[in-house]
């Protein structure tokens, strides 16, 4: 057991740090505005030119074949440099792992490189109005027609869908099926779907509703076998919950910013205590992730253990941001545009965003039940 980076890993870190120092732009407008979305797409393209948009992917799809530890290093440096949020993250972290595992050679060639270059930006379409946490109760359906399928129904909480190019989600392809059976995984262009933006707490349309009234999807845009969607989607949501989406770098950067803020402010010792603790918890999450990365690298299945990480990071993220808001007093609740807002209102944005953490990708209540039943073995 050690915590020493290899010379190669150290060199990789130095290279990333230099590149980011030279290229990270000033703060971009919100990716949930049209201009901001395109600005974020440009940034993704700049990353892609340096093969840094998907460092862990093979070179032929636009990556640079980085190891898991190198990916974690990249993420640490990325967020420490104050680089923009990733507008491509739904595709890269939720869909791509499924394409790598279950896609045809043609699908890989058609979609992955364009995704890496942000030529296609993807939106997820998991939830439905009556199926939030309970994905198995999906009702949107797919009808078999010559050469493909027609999609009907409604999806909601589709993040990025207002401005994205493509969407992915599950539809009930066998009308007689119930629960987990008979669901198929579809890929569809969003311009053929009716998209209704949903305004969030921060006033921007970070989510949208999608309405399908018979949009045609050819067979080549079905991922995996028809009826097998649930199983391969579970691999995807496990990516969403597990290591891949929530690298420690983001929380470490937030914790460091919080500590800098506390040092520059007169901080009550009781509040300072909570801040120090949150910083330490970010450290715990990092160390925990190094352990998980090691297990993944040796071929272990992480499975339900990823639920532990989900609960921990989502509650840590709320705490980090809530502490900053408290620390700033009345100024903590100022938004972008307010002359007195600290750091352009990023703390408030981050606070509101963090509150969704314990809800999405399986609420923390569901995660705790998964831990109790599938890890501890308690009865249903």
């Amino acid at each position: 057991m050690d915590l020493d980076f290899t010379p190669q890993e150290r060199a990789f870190r130095a290279e990333m740090r230099d590149w980011l120092a030279a290229h990270v732009p000033e703060r971009l407008p919100s990716m949930d505005t049209r201009d901001g979305f395109e600005a974020h797409r440009e940034w993704e393209r700049l990353l892609a030119d340096a093969r840094l948009s998907v460092v862990s992917w093979p070179e032929r799809f636009g990556g640079c074949g980085a190891s898991l530890v190198e990916w974690l290093i990249f993420e640490e440096e990325y967020w420490a440099a104050g680089a923009p949020g990733r507008v491509s993250q739904n595709g890269i972290f939720l869909l791509a792992p499924t394409i790598f595992s279950y896609g045809t050679a043609e699908q890989k060639d058609r979609f992955l490189h364009r995704m890496a270059r942000a030529d296609d930006i993807w939106a997820q379409a998991w939830s439905e109005p009556e199926a939030g946490s309970d994905l198995a109760s999906l009702r949107s359906r797919a009808e078999r027609v010559a050469g493909g399928w027609r999609l009907y129904g409604q999806k909601t909480w589709s993040s990025r869908a207002t401005y994205a190019d493509w969407g992915f989600g599950l539809f009930r392809s066998d009308p007689d099926s119930t629960r987990h059976r008979g669901l198929t995984y579809f890929l569809f262009p969003l311009h053929e779907v009716t998209v209704r933006p949903i305004v969030q707490l921060d006033g921007e349309p970070g989510f949208a509703e999608l309405f399908f009234d018979g949009v045609f999807v050819p067979d080549c845009q079905v991922l995996g076998a028809p009826g097998d969607g649930w199983r391969i989607a579970m691999a995807t949501t496990s990516s969403e919950r597990g290591l891949t989406l929530r690298s420690p770098g983001r929380f470490m950067a937030t914790a460091d910013r919080l500590v800098r803020l506390a040092r520059s402010t007169a901080t009550d010792p009781a509040l300072a205590d909570e801040i120090a603790r949150a910083w330490m918890d970010a450290e715990a999450y990092r160390l925990h992730t190094f352990g998980v990365a090691r297990r993944i690298a040796s071929g272990e299945e992480i499975g339900p253990a990823s639920s532990m990480g989900k609960v921990f990071w989502s509650e840590l993220d709320v705490r980090l941001h809530a502490l900053a808001v408290r620390l700033l007093g009345e100024r903590g609740l100022l938004a972008e545009g307010a002359p007195d807002a600290e750091d352009g209102g990023r703390w408030l944005d981050g606070f509101l965003f963090s509150l969704a953490g314990p809800i999405y990708a399986g609420t923390n209540e569901i995660q705790r039940t998964i831990i109790a039943e599938r890890i501890l073995g308690l009865p249903r």
């Binding site: 009556e130 939030g132 007093g329 972008e336 307010a338 807002a341 509101l352 314990p358 039940t369």
Partner: protein, 348 residues
């Protein structure tokens, strides 16, 4: 010893509640967050004026009801429950304490004078653009100025309804010179008005928390997941029970603080009253913050959006929890008061 509200106190609150139910529904609150015209940003204000709401704490000699803060505390709680827009606490609770014996009091009591304040550690004046009169503490002195005579800079924040403004003085003449009525130094000190503001806001937080709990319970009864109402799951039940407990034990501290403020009114300093005020604000702020967190968790993603009005109540909780000293500030005052006082006595 009779720690229960009188019929008169209950009747006042109930009248306020009826007015607000009719004239300040959620749609009006939502509209107030978008509207530009003044009157659309002040739903129910004319009707509240009619029932004497703005004169509750004004002496009868000036056409007020001559009540104490404890008499009116449930009425303030109702304004929180309804998320009533406008400088409610500043006009109805702080201004009577600031203006003292003053010709403006009668106008205030009749609902003809809206007031915003920036006192003590306050950084911004809430709803200052809706106020006729602004009372600002500056170099330890209180100045009453007309809203037009100072420069107000909007500081956009989480709450689209309760807007914050920084205040800058345009020209020296605006202060202490100007018209007799609107630009002059006040004799009052900020201590008592600040206590009043803090307790009235604590009551609003209790009201907000009660609304959030009720709304969450209703949602949990109707929303189904995994084939059952989510309110039938123990995890949801226990989170909501904890909110109910937090509210049930915060409210008495707020009511006791109102009594303590009434008793101390006029006297300069009283350790007991400041302790009671800080206990009220710290605890009510925490209960409401918890109610907000649980409401969001119970509603799920939809609570987070403009699809529901929930977000207006959440934003108000955050906004008021940080107003007049947040839980942390008041808890550190409590720490000093409780651990630093050699002979700690309870009240009564």
């Amino acid at each position: 010893m009779n720690f229960a509200f009188t019929d008169d106190q209950l009747a006042l609150a109930s009248t306020v509640r009826e007015v607000l139910t009719e004239h300040c529904p959620a749609t009006a609150v939502r509209h107030a967050g978008q509207a530009a015209p003044r009157d659309e940003r002040l739903p129910a204000w004319p009707q509240l004026a009619e029932i004497g709401f703005f004169g509750m704490l004004v002496p009868e000699a000036y056409d007020g009801l001559g009540l104490g803060l404890a008499d009116a505390i449930l009425a303030f709680e109702e304004t929180g429950r309804a998320a009533l827009p406008g400088p409610v606490v500043e006009t109805a609770a702080v201004a009577p304490a600031l203006l003292g014996d003053d010709a403006l009091l009668a106008r205030l009591a009749g609902g003809g004078l809206r007031v915003s304040v920036r006192l003590g550690d306050q950084v911004y004046a809430p709803d200052a653009d809706l106020a006729d009169l602004l009372v600002v503490e500056r170099h330890g002195e209180l100045h009453a100025v007309s809203a037009g005579s100072v420069r107000l800079t909007p500081q956009a924040g989480v709450d689209p309804v309760r807007r914050l403004f920084s205040v800058a003085f345009g020209s020296p003449e605006a202060v202490d010179g100007g018209k007799r009525e609107l630009g002059r130094r006040l004799d009052a000190t900020a201590a008592h008005p600040l206590r009043t503001a803090t307790v009235a806001v604590a009551a609003q937080l209790v009201g907000l928390a009660r609304h959030l709990l009720e709304t969450s319970v209703e949602y949990a009864k109707s929303r189904k997941q995994f084939g059952a109402p989510i309110g039938s799951f123990q995890a949801v039940k226990h989170q909501l029970a904890d909110v109910a407990i937090a509210i049930d034990f915060a409210a008495p501290l707020v009511y006791a603080a109102a009594l303590a403020v009434d008793r101390a009114s006029g006297t300069a300093a009283a350790g007991g009253v400041d302790r009671a005020v800080s206990a009220a604000k710290a605890t009510a702020g925490e209960a409401a913050t918890r109610a907000a967190r649980v409401a969001l968790q119970v509603h799920g993603a939809i609570g987070y959006t403009g699809e529901l009005d929930l977000r207006l109540w959440l934003a108000r909780v955050w906004s008021l929890a940080s107003a007049y000293g947040d839980t942390g500030v008041h808890r550190s005052r409590l720490r000093a008061a409780i651990l630093g006082t050699p002979h700690l006595t309870r009240w009564p």
